[in-house]
Assembly symmetry: C2
């Protein structure tokens, strides 16, 4: 099946046992997964018909579910089949694939407490391009350091993926007010934390660094750290003071929905003549050439998945 002939070219969703077009997929208004955002999630990128680090994403999804005490009926193997089915039914070869686990509602007669709710899985595959911004991609992102402070780990575990994004959303409005594209939030100690959905890498005086804690342990972040090892470039995973970010020679973001994404400006200051700097370019190009070679790739079995979905 090709993307052009797909019955649901804008995407396919799965909710608690049933497949449907993404446009028809919805969450009950009284579900705690919406009402209280009692939900965890993960996201995997699919490029040229191949998942990137699928098992790592499934493993992290399970770790997030365990951290927040979700127990859906689906096994990891079931979840993998569901993701393949969403891709097969959509026919997409370049896709953004999301998986969520929602708290749900208590069954009739059960006590009114999240411990008694029936948790369930949702997933969807949508075209990769729909989440990128072509204009920003072309001129490279303008970042700003937000006033809003990232929610601390002692309140919400940032390594377990969650939609408690009010801080990140406020940060995005700060960015918008300052004519920038994305915010970077700081931790309470004024070291760099992360932005909405991405980790940050800083190149400053030939030192390459990325924050060590209080952030999502991004799978793209981990991949970039591995790449630096392969390239023989020392990478420092440690607290990154905001001054280092503000004075950086280069900054790039790592994100499942986009890979390695160099930034052009920080707080209005132009870096590297408004273009990606040499180290950002090197890691960006290496990342994508490795991807083209099948690095950490799991091919989507479109035929098998369609058979499973039909059964």
């Amino acid at each position: 099946m090709t993307q052009a002939s797909a019955p649901t070219a804008t995407g396919t969703a799965y909710i608690d046992g049933r497949y449907m077009p993404v446009a028809e997929a919805a969450i009950p208004i009284t579900d705690w997964g919406y009402h209280c955002s009692d939900v965890t999630y993960d996201v995997v990128g699919v490029w040229q018909g191949k998942n990137f680090r699928l098992d790592d994403h499934i493993r992290r999804f399970r770790a997030s579910m365990n951290a927040f005490r979700f127990q859906p009926r689906e096994t990891d193997e079931n979840i993998k089949v569901i993701l393949h089915c969403c891709l097969a039914l959509s026919g997409l070869r370049d896709a953004y694939v999301a998986m969520d686990c929602l708290r749900g509602r208590p069954p009739a007669g059960a006590r009114y407490h999240p411990a008694y709710d029936r948790n369930y899985i949702t997933a969807f595959a949508v075209p990769w391009i729909s989440l990128l911004q072509p204009d920003v991609m072309a001129r490279r992102a303008h970042l700003v350091v937000a006033e809003t402070v990232r929610i601390p780990s002692k309140s919400v575990d940032p390594t377990a993926k969650n939609f408690d994004w009010a801080d990140l959303t406020q940060g995005q409005f700060e960015a918008h007010d300052r004519s920038a594209d994305f915010c970077v939030l700081l931790a309470e100690d004024s070291t760099v934390a992360e932005g909405p959905g991405f980790n940050i890498f800083v190149v400053s005086d030939r030192r390459i660094s990325t924050p060590v804690s209080g952030v999502l342990e991004g799978i793209t972040r981990r991949s970039v750290i591995e790449l630096f090892g392969d390239l023989g470039l020392p990478i420092e995973v440690r607290p990154v003071p905001v001054a280092e970010l503000r004075g950086a020679d280069e900054i790039f973001r790592s994100i499942a929905a986009g890979g390695v994404m160099p930034a052009a400006r920080i707080d209005g200051r132009i870096m590297s003549n408004d273009r990606p700097g040499p180290i950002s370019r090197q890691v960006h190009d290496t990342f994508w050439s490795r991807r083209a070679e099948g690095w950490h790739a799991t091919p989507v079995d479109y035929a098998a998945a369609e058979t499973a979905a039909a059964s």
Copy 2:
């Protein structure tokens, strides 16, 4: 219309211009209101066909919308009509009425940023009793102080209602693990903050106190503070050290879905012989006798609302 004859006795919802049974009301899976919990809300209690402090709730809802930069097409007057219509269509006379404003999605061709999304309103009315726990009501709540720290104000404004509840939900699991009903979260400075959906009042050595900041400015909380004034009992709105909570003579919660709710135990310790203490009883009884007298009450215009809904 009486509750027994209501066509949708389990509740009526409104989503972005359309009324429907609550059971059919759902949020698109790709809406930022769900996916990133980019939403604000408010809740008003209806008892014996009367809203409690309706204008105050609408005013706070608008303040939350402004804080998070939501601009739905509905005016405050429109929202009031919507709530009345949900009540009229459900026929409920004792109801929990929720109103949300969701970020929505960007219109086709718009930039991919929350500033460009079309925000919209949802609302629903469900039976009051469905959110209470009769067993806990009967024996009075057992509270515990959670290890999880309340999300600080510098990350998310607690006075603007939001569903960033991962800290409160984790606290509820802590309570469950310790055989209690509800958690109380502390602020970073180890003073009392709040619990899931409620404010806390502490009676200790004849001093009555409630936390001053870093908490939701509950409308029931405000009503209780007013009541203490009327009763000639001094109430101290100030930082409340956790030791004062742990050693309290009495504790009660204030919550829109329940009013004044005395607690029986804190961290396993029994207060007042496992019954509400004298001050909790006095404020509880005064609260409900005032409510019966029509205090801050706005009658639901069931007939007019039905006419408006049909038009």
